[in-house]
Symmetry: C3
Subunit: 216 residues, 3 copies
């Protein structure tokens, strides 16, 4: 038994949710960082290896997610509404899934040119995830409400940025003369997957905001 598990034994049962949510956003931070670093890597083989390493993180996150649902089913007392725990867990899990989905599209579609749009999305996603991690850590004691609210506001504005980035990229794609249809399909699909990551970050931020409204 690791120290972590030992400490958990002595925690009031409902405190475990804070630890599990922090575990999830830690993994997401690692995924966001790995994704960004992979896209800055110029060597295609190294980049592919880094992108493929996201699968392990996604699996790790699946396990924590599963653990949260088990705790939710077996704990009568929860630190916030069951429906909020459910919605928050689902949207955080979706973030991991769609980052991994984006990585798979980059490798499976043989997309070698990491354009400004993809870089822009990676940057927005990374900033959103770091903000989520901050917000989640502050939920534990609810002492710094302002920090939580600022994180949620930032994530909402990053999602708007992502929408504009997506719209501009689509407009550009469909106005490129003689674009190869297969290339268009690849990029359109990748951008859509990346845009969904930011939607899911916003969903998570909205749940956090609704938890604040009820409990603070």
């Amino acid at each position: 038994m690791g120290l972590g598990s030992f400490v958990k034994l002595f925690m009031p049962k409902d405190r475990i949710f804070y630890s599990l949510f922090e575990e999830v956003t830690s993994t997401l931070v690692e995924m966001g960082d790995t994704f960004s670093k992979a896209l800055s890597e110029s060597d295609p083989e190294k980049r592919t290896a880094m992108l493929k390493s996201l699968e392990d993180l996604e699996h790790k996150n699946d396990e924590t997610t599963h653990r949260i649902f088990i705790e939710l089913g077996s704990n009568f007392i929860t630190p916030f509404d069951r429906e909020d725990i459910h919605a928050l867990t689902t949207s955080l899990d979706d973030i991991a899934d769609f980052i991994w989905g984006s990585a798979k599209r980059l490798t499976n579609y043989y997309i070698h040119d990491v354009d400004d749009t993809v870089q822009g999305f990676a940057d927005i996603i990374n900033r959103s995830i770091h903000a989520l991690h901050t917000g989640i850590k502050e939920l534990r004691n609810m002492k710094n409400l302002r920090a939580i609210i600022e994180a949620c506001v930032l994530i909402n504005s990053l999602e708007n940025e992502a929408d504009d980035l997506f719209d501009d990229a689509m407009t550009k794609l469909f106005s490129t003369p003689n674009i190869n249809p297969i290339d268009l399909i690849k990029k359109k699909d990748l951008y859509q997957e990346l845009e969904i990551v930011t939607d899911k970050c916003e969903d998570a931020a909205n749940v956090i905001e609704s938890i604040i409204v009820k409990y603070a």
Copy 2:
């Protein structure tokens, strides 16, 4: 403080949900009407301007939606089940999002020919939204259950019409000899977005129906 806000001060707290839902469906009616009018406009520049004006309505609706979630978090008493308010709010918000998404596809993909399929969808969407508005207004006093049920039945049958319209359009697209793949992608994507609007109208109608079952 406008007269509206003044009146709200003297309303029992849970009555505010009726007003907010009516505000949402009023905005949707405006969106549906604007969308239909834009598609009948033959001048491409005027049409684009009308389509772009939908963004403001979508933002306005986002604010009302946000307001409903805040009220839901802070009000202990609600006129119907919290889960139904949540589901209804989400599906109505999705209607606005996907109408605006359809408008963006028309402009960003440079789709200049408004074909019969697009016109057909606009008509179905507009009729569904007007029915939703009627149903929502009748929720306030629950005196005319028949009108609410008729609205829900109509929306369900309009969604079936939209399914058939979509299937026929797909069959036609994929059997068009020598169709330009980029054109096919544009239209397929636009039709899918339009079809989702009608799915979301049906989702909203189903929530309204389940509210009726429980409270009437």
Copy 3:
């Protein structure tokens, strides 16, 4: 009044949910079997007729789904949490919708060659549905928990198989030299629809697992 309805009159009110869920998974089993058989049919006309017969089953399932929601709205006592009944019903209904969606793509897109990927999906879907049916039938008395858990574990592992099948198929599609873009669009869209069926099976299995955790 059939014998079934007669028996139901004398059942405790909340037992009806078991019967309705079994009705749903029976229809799904029939859909999965019909879908598999259609794909093994070499005569294109016969195959199309079999695929189109799925529409009636999908409609039948819509009616049972609707019935469950009505019972949920009017029954105060339910055999498990209302939110679990809602989530289970929705994911089972989605399975029927996406099987029918896959069948429509095969016919509307004029996809005549039933390749190994499509066959593989049909096989995975069919095994998942049979496992769901077993799990649902065992929910009624909760005596054979092991059988329920085994069904859920199997469905999760089948969903992983489907993910790999999808990734391999995408990699192959996008590395096919000189592939016709329209053919790529058709197949990509069909595979995506089939993959979603397995996601929805996993969603249903996850709800069943969470019911077990709470009530067993």
